[in-house]
Each structure stands twice: as structure tokens, then as C-alpha cells.
Amino acid sequence: MPEHTFRVNGEQVTVDVADDVRLLWVLRDILGITGPKYGCGINVCKACTSHVNGKAVRPCSVPVSALEPTDEVTTIEGLPDTVGKELHPMQQAWLDRDVVQCGYCQPGQIMAAVDLVRRVAAEGREITDADLDGIRNICRCGTYHRIREAIREGAEKM
């Protein structure tokens, strides 16, 4: 089987798997990294949101062969290390606001939130209601309001 080499949460990994297997399954089923969750497999629920080279992507829609050896995949498990702390400020904001209900979508929500704050900061502006309305991650428990509060709070500390 073909070998694929890339970086995950700061470590170089090599997996033996067919080219077209999506990154989500490589992470979960082969590497045992279970923070990214399955919710649809077609890039609509966003539960698996992770980062590749610091930008939000949906691993359910990335064939493993699309990754280069230098590509850095960050899952929720690796997020704290990106700031060299026990918790990323967005995770702390999530705790402070007690955002979580069942928790299933929350790793994806947090990774999407960090990406949103970075994008908005790069544009040199504050987060707006329209930005928050644009988040596509589904939360079936409906904790949307606390997600909005936590993103604004986390943004201030990022």
C-alpha cells in the first residue's frame, strides 16, 4: 500500500493506506486521534473541523494523498501546543462560559472559532454578528448562544 507522510500535532507520521482514504479516517481509525468527530462525511456539519497549516479544513473531505510531508495537521488535541499552554485561550473561554452540552461537536466548534478569530484579526477588525451567523458548525444540543459568547471572549485573549 502507498505510504503517506505528513505532520500531526507536531509529530511526523507515516501511514500505509490507500490514496483516497480521507484524513478523518486516517486520524481516527489508523492513528487513534479521536478528537475530530464524524457527523456527516460530506463537509456540511463541520464536526471534524481541524487545521492544516493553521487554516480550518474538514478532514472528512481531504484525501490523505493531498497532504505533503511538510503539511502540519492540528486537531483539537494539538491546539494547546500551538500557544505553548495547557489550554488554548478559546478552550478556556469555552470552560468559562460552560459552553459544552453533550460535547460531540465542540472540538470542531473550537477549531472553527480559532480559525474565525484569526481570519478576522488578519482583516484588522472586530468580530461581528454576521461573522458569528456565518459559522456553519451544527450543534444539535443548541448551545449556539454560549458559543457566540465564548468566541467573543476567547478572541480578546488570543
Partner: protein, 758 residues
């Protein structure tokens, strides 16, 4: 504490269980069951006995078996015989124990108990009943542990137990102090002992009633929280099922078994009752194999049916209204509620390891005992050889009352002779998973001279499957219920819906038809639809009688608690403030689970809002503000209660405006989250205020499902007032199909490959 001798607070009985370390167990939970006999005669059965009384009463004979254990490290352990699916009961349970034992909440370890058949009815999570039924027994067990620890410490510290103080897990007094872990062994019993104990008085609470963040939050935000599919069960490989194109179709012959078995990563392919199961190295390879399978399908249980044909079935099954009396005026309306999906974000899934003589199952299960019994029967194993572990659940909303995936996983594992990690694709979860049944509600209210003389509601529904254990509870309790000889659906209906208004002669009846669908509750069974219909009629009555919707409700609502929540939202939400054309407020009330609630929303139905562009989603009217007041009697954790209300409001918005399943040719068109429009960020109210009312009782009411009914009703009422036309069909956008349906063969869509480009 705080009361003179002789007036004597109630004592509760419990046990100390023989064990190496201190294990305390609760005796029967008193209270709720007695209430059935003491009620003041009333026109409404739910005031004498509601669904929760019945569930609580059914749980009584076995509640004594729950145990609180104090470890030598000072931690307190409790295996909760309920399912945590996001509703926060592990947190509230830890709070109850922390209160009675005076230990920090963080030192209490609440896990989910395996299926315990000896618990009979007391391991069903549903009907928003967990806190109601476990509030007293858990506290009794913890209080007994406290009593034993103090007695053991008294000997160590040379003081009377009454003179010792227990705080933060440390007992102080006499010659010094000692940690509870250090006396946990001495406090243990050599033989079972029956003891009695007093509970902490409400005025002395330091934990109960104070907001507490979730005990599992850190695990959730770091990705460490383990759901069933995250478990590392040796050799349990990804498994998915190729399913039929119509609801409950059955597999016939498979044309290309050998070819699919040879596909990359595939280890096994087996025909099971519900389809063709594929086991592979990754779920991605399962999807490939499922898509490649060529299966001849046999008919299902809803062949050829459509929304329209089911509506005709419902019309035929509708119970008649009583004759309309002469010389009165009447409002009569009929409402339609389409099928809705109760899919959680975690799809149906389970791990199963079935060997020749035993089986082990892991899944989030709200009725694990029935699951265990059913799985044992399916596998041909004695129940004692089937272990069922309850995992943390990624949402439920009624879905996890059933164990469809666990049963399939067991069958697939048995047929393959290997452990499986079986997960439903989202398309399966949408199309073959449980749905809230389609229903109609006809209401007639009569009035004359400023009085409402009668209110009659006839609810007609596709059958709701209650075959998850609640049916057994109702059957077992039926003889004790003052409802006569009616079936359990009708019993459930009567007990879970109530008449909150002083509307004269009142009747409500349920009739069910058509058992061909996979149905279940969805954050309530009947209440959101029944209440929505009622509240719309209330608005119409108010208009006909020339009254303001809020003032009208205030005049006719029964009970101070009810009027208080209504007044609270009217005040906090500035009822009656002027709004632009196309926007309006709506107000509604709902009582259930010994709780009362009211919602006030503001809805923007202006074209520029309704037609705002949303990619792969539905915009529609926007709730711009929601104000919600809730009185659950006694709020154990106001922070968690607020979270449950928030979720219920989002469900209510979805039910009113955007979310439904479309039935065509025997299958649902919706196959994923880009087809099924549950509330998304762009549908949420930018302004949201949830008010937890001061406690009005010594006992907590239910909350998990409570908020949906008032919320859907308030949104519906606001829509009627904003547009000038009362909505009669829900959700309001059901008539417009807002997506391109995905194929049914193959049954699951392929994953995209452009994820790096977006």
C-alpha cells in the same frame, strides 16, 4: 439544623453495605408516589398524577440499590443508572452528593452504570425524569455516608460525632482533623446495616441551587471525552451497513459479495436483518464498499407512502369532536405537524464483541436493560452472558431511548465472528433512523360573554414507538392509574399533556395510526405539537374576545407559578412594544414535568430578512430576541438548567420554522445536515435571555425537554401576528423543498475530495 427538637425533620431509611470501604445505599424514595393520593380533586388528571409521578413511582421499589462509595483517597464514587447525553445529569448528581457529603464537587466521580436488570424500571432515561426520581435517593445515600464517616471519625478524634464538622472532605473537632479517605475503611460495614438519616435542609444548601459548570467540560473541550466510537476495543474495526432505498426494506440477494470482500481494507461482508454489513480497516473504506454493493431489496413498511397519503390516513383516524352547543361562538382550527428527525450529532452507533458464549456491548443507551434483554434474545445467549456498558452520548433528543445500532452491531459481530465498531452513516441516520411522528391536532374552543366555555383537542398521530421500556412501565403501573382501561400511548398522552387554562369543559384525546414508521420521541412526544396548537388557538380566542394575548393568558391561566413566569417574560421582554411592519412578538406558556415555563419571542418576517442569502441552508424569518422564564420548583444547577432551556428554545425555533422530513415514495428525502434544517447560527436569536425563577418547591421538576413547547408556540404565535395569518402547518417552510435530494441507491453519498481548497 435550624429547627427546634420535636418538630423533627423527616428521616429517611437506607443501608450501609458490607464492603472493604464505606458504601452507603439509599432506601426507597418517598414523596412523589404519595402525592397521587393527596391531590385536591381537579378537572385535570395531571394535577393528581403526571407522567413523572408514574415514572418515579415505578422506580421506587428498586431505588434502594443505588450506592455511594467513599474511597481511601477521599474520592466519592457513584455509578448513575441513567444515560448522560448532554443534559448535565452527571454534574447535577455530583452536586447532590457533594452537598450531602460536604466534599468538593470535583472529588465526586460519577460514572454511568452498566445495564442492571435488577433495577427493573429504574434505569430508563426519559420523560425529563432523572432529577425528579433520583433527587432524594442519591442524597439519602450520600447523607448516610456522611453519618458513618462522622461516627468513625468521632472514635479517632475522641469527640462526639455531633460536635464534629465536615467540610471540604475533612472532618474537624476533638483532638484535630482527619480526611474522609482516612476513615473510609473504618466507616465500612462488616454486614449490611439498615440506618436512618436526615437530609440537609434546603435553607442550609451550599451546593444545590448554585450554578456549577459541567464536570465533563474539560474532557470535552480537549477532545478527551470518549464517545462510543472513540473507545479502543481490541480489534473492533469500523463497520457500516448498506441499507435499503425505502424505510425498513429488507435485503435480498447480493450480486457482488466476493468482489466487495476483495475491496481495499474490507475484512468482512455479512447480510444482517437490516441490510448488508461491511467491516473494514477504516470507515472510509466501509463507505466505498457500501456504495459498491449490489443488493436486491425487498419492500419496506411504508412502500409508496407520501406526506399526502399519511395526511389522509390521519384524517381518517381523527377522533370526533363533541357536538357544538347552540348559542355559543367557537374557534375551530386544525394543525398539521410533519415528520421530524430526532438525529443527534453523534449518529446511531455501538461497539459489539460477540463470542460463542458471551457478548459485550458499548453504546449510549437510555434503556440499557431492554437493550440487554433484546440483544440476548437475538444472539441466543442467556442475559447473564451479555454485558452492556453505557457510554457517554453525543446527544439524544429521544433517539437513544432505542438501541437500533447496538442490536445491529451484536448481530454483525456474531455473523462475522469478530468485534465491530458499527456506525450509521448520516444518510442512514436521517432516512432509516427514528423520526417524530407526523400528527394533526384539531382544536375547538367555545366562548360566550367573556368566558371560555369549553376546550376540546383531538390529536391524531402516526404511532409513536414506546417499545423501549416506557411502555413496560406504563403497562405495569396501569392498574394503579385513575385513567381506566386505555392503551399506553393514550395513557402517556393523558399524563404528559395538561390543560393549564381555566377554559371550562375540557377534553383531549389521542388516536394513533400506522405502525410502519421508525418513530420515537424528540425532546418530548406530544407536548410541543399539542401546546403549539393550543397556544395558537389561545391567540385567536384573545383576538375574537378583543383581548391582548398576554392579558388574556394572564386572565385564564391557573396557578400563581404559571402567572409568575408569564408576567416575568412579559416584563423582561417588554411585551407590547412597538415593532416595524413585518415584525411581531409572540408569547406562550407550557407546564409539564412539575415545571412551568413561558416564552416571549420577537420575529422578523420582513422580506429582506426572510430572503437573505444562505449557502446550502434555509434563512426564513429570524427570531431576533427570545426571553424565557422557567420555574422547575427547585433548580439543582441553574447553569445547567439555563443550558437546557437554551437548547429547547433552539429546538422550538427549528420546529416552527425550518426542520422537517419530507416523505416520498416510501422514504424520507433528507439525507444529511444540508437537507435537514435544524437551527443554525444564522437562525439563532442574537438576543437571548433566560430567567430561572426563584425556587417554589422543595423538590425539583423536570427540565430536559421542557423548553421546546413554549418556544415553538411563541414563534408560531409571533409568525401569525407578524404576517396577519395564523400558521396551521409546521414547520412553516415544509411546502418548499430547499435542497436537491440525494440518491437512495447507493444509500450513502461519497465524501468530497476538495477539503483543502475550501
Amino acid at each position: 439544623m435550624g429547627r427546634p427538637e420535636g418538630i423533627g425533620r423527616r428521616r429517611f431509611l437506607g443501608y450501609v453495605i458490607a464492603a472493604p470501604t464505606l458504601v452507603a445505599a439509599a432506601e426507597l424514595a418517598p414523596g412523589a408516589a404519595d402525592a397521587a393520593g393527596e391531590g385536591v380533586p381537579s378537572q385535570d388528571i395531571t394535577e393528581i398524577l403526571d407522567l413523572n409521578d408514574m415514572m418515579t413511582a415505578a422506580a421506587l421499589p428498586t431505588s434502594g440499590l443505588i450506592t455511594v462509595e467513599v474511597g481511601t483517597d477521599g474520592t466519592v464514587s457513584f455509578a448513575l443508572p441513567r444515560a448522560e447525553v448532554g443534559q448535565g445529569i452527571t454534574t447535577s448528581t455530583a452536586m447532590l452528593i457533594a452537598e450531602e457529603l460536604s466534599v468538593p464537587v470535583e472529588r465526586v466521580r460519577v460514572t454511568l452504570a452498566d445495564a442492571r436488570p435488577e433495577l427493573l424500571f429504574n434505569q430508563l432515561t426519559g420523560g425529563s425524569n432523572t432529577t425528579i426520581s433520583t433527587y432524594t435517593p442519591i442524597r439519602v445515600a450520600a447523607a448516610i455516608a456522611r453519618q458513618r464517616l462522622l461516627a468513625a471519625a468521632a472514635a479517632e478524634l475522641g469527640a462526639k460525632a455531633a460536635d464534629l464538622r465536615l467540610k471540604d472532605g475533612v472532618i474537624t473537632g476533638g483532638t484535630g482533623s482527619i480526611a474522609i479517605g482516612d476513615v473510609a475503611k473504618k466507616a465500612a460495614a462488616a454486614a449490611h446495616q439498615k440506618v436512618s438519616v436526615e437530609l440537609t435542609a434546603r435553607e442550609d444548601f451550599t451546593v444545590i441551587g448554585k450554578p456549577h459548570n459541567r464536570v465533563d467540560a474539560l474532557a470535552a473541550v480537549t477532545g478527551r471525552k470518549k464517545f462510543a466510537m472513540d473507545l479502543d476495543v481490541p480489534d473492533a474495526k469500523p463497520t457500516m451497513v448498506c441499507r435499503p432505498p425505502t424505510i425498513n426494506g429488507k435485503p435480498g440477494s447480493v450480486a457482488n459479495l466476493a468482489a466487495v470482500r476483495a475491496m481495499p481494507g474490507v475484512t468482512d461482508v455479512a447480510v444482517i436483518s437490516t441490510g448488508v454489513a461491511v467491516r473494514a480497516a477504516t470507515f472510509g473504506q466501509c463507505i466505498d464498499a457500501v456504495r459498491a454493493l449490489e443488493v436486491a431489496w425487498k419492500p419496506g413498511t411504508a412502500e409508496g407512502k407520501t406526506d399526502e397519503s399519511v395526511l389522509r390516513e390521519l384524517a381518517r383516524a381523527e377522533p370526533p369532536l363533541p357536538p357544538k352547543p347552540p348559542l355559543v361562538q367557537a374557534v375551530e382550527e386544525k394543525f398539521t405537524f410533519y415528520f421530524r428527525s430526532n438525529s443527534a450529532l453523534e449518529p446511531n452507533c455501538a461497539v459489539a464483541d460477540v463470542r460463542g458464549d458471551r457478548a459485550e456491548i458499548w453504546a449510549s443507551l437510555k434503556s440499557p436493560i431492554v437493550a440487554k434483554q433484546t440483544i440476548a434474545a437475538k444472539l441466543g445467549l442467556p442475559q447473564s452472558k451479555v454485558s452492556v456498558h453505557v457510554t457517554e452520548g453525543g446527544g439524544s433528543f429521544g433517539r437513544k431511548l432505542f438501541f437500533d445500532a447496538a442490536l445491529e452491531a451484536a448481530e454483525a459481530s456474531q455473523k462475522m465472528g469478530k468485534p465491530v465498531k458499527l456506525m450509521w452513516h448520516r444518510a442512514d441516520d436521517s432516512r432509516q433512523g427514528r423520526a417524530h411522528p407526523m400528527a394533526t391536532s384539531r382544536v375547538r374552543a367555545t366562548y360566550a360573554g367573556g368566558k371560555v366555555l369549553g376546550y376540546h383537542q383531538r390529536h391524531t398521530s402516526v404511532s409513536t414507538d414506546l417499545g423501549h421500556g416506557l411502555g413496560e412501565i406504563i403497562t405495569a403501573m396501569a392498574a394503579k392509574l385513575p385513567v381506566g382501561d386505555i392503551g399506553f400511548s393514550e395513557t402517556f398522552f393523558q399524563l404528559s399533556t395538561t390543560m393549564s387554562y381555566d377554559f371550562g369543559v375540557h377534553t383531549r384525546l389521542l388516536n394513533e395510526t400506522d405502525k410502519g414508521f421508525n418513530t420515537g420521541s424528540m425532546r418530548n412526544v406530544y407536548s410541543p405539537d399539542v401546546t403549539c396548537a393550543r397556544e395558537l388557538v389561545v391567540d385567536k380566542l384573545a383576538a375574537k374576545m378583543g383581548k391582548d394575548p398576554y392579558r388574556f393568558r394572564q386572565d385564564f391561566l391557573r396557578g400563581d407559578r404559571a402567572r409568575a413566569v408569564l408576567d416575568k417574560v412579559a416584563e423582561a421582554g417588554e411585551w407590547g412594544r412597538s415593532m416595524p411592519d413585518g415584525m411581531a412578538q409572540g408569547i406562550a406558556f407550557h407546564a409539564e414535568y412539575k415545571s412551568v415555563s413561558a416564552a416571549l419571542v420577537e420575529l422578523d418576517c420582513r422580506p429582506e430578512t426572510v430572503n437573505r442569502p444562505i449557502r446550502d441552508g434555509v434563512a426564513g424569518p429570524r427570531v431576533t430576541k427570545a426571553v424565557f422564564a422557567v420555574d422547575v420548583g427547585l433548580a439543582v444547577n441553574p447553569c445547567g438548567l439555563e443550558a437546557q432551556m437554551m437548547g429547547g428554545i433552539m429546538d422550538g425555533i427549528a420546529l416552527a420554522l425550518t426542520s422537517s422530513l419530507h416523505l416520498k415514495d416510501g422514504h424520507f428525502l433528507e439525507a444529511s445536515w444540508d437537507n435537514y434544517f435544524y437551527t443554525r447560527q444564522w437562525n439563532t436569536p442574537p438576543e437571548l435571555k433566560i430567567i430561572v425563577m426563584p425556587d417554589t418547591s422543595d423538590e425539583p421538576g423536570g427540565a430536559g425537554e421542557l423548553a421546546v413547547a413554549a418556544s415553538v408556540s411563541a414563534v408560531a404565535c409571533a409568525y401569525g401576528r407578524a404576517t396577519g395569518t395564523m400558521p396551521t402547518s409546521f414547520p412553516i417552510n415544509h411546502g418548499t423543498l430547499s435542497f436537491e435530494p440525494k440518491p437512495t441507491v447507493p444509500p450513502v453519498p461519497q465524501s468530497p475530495t476538495d477539503g483543502l481548497d475550501r
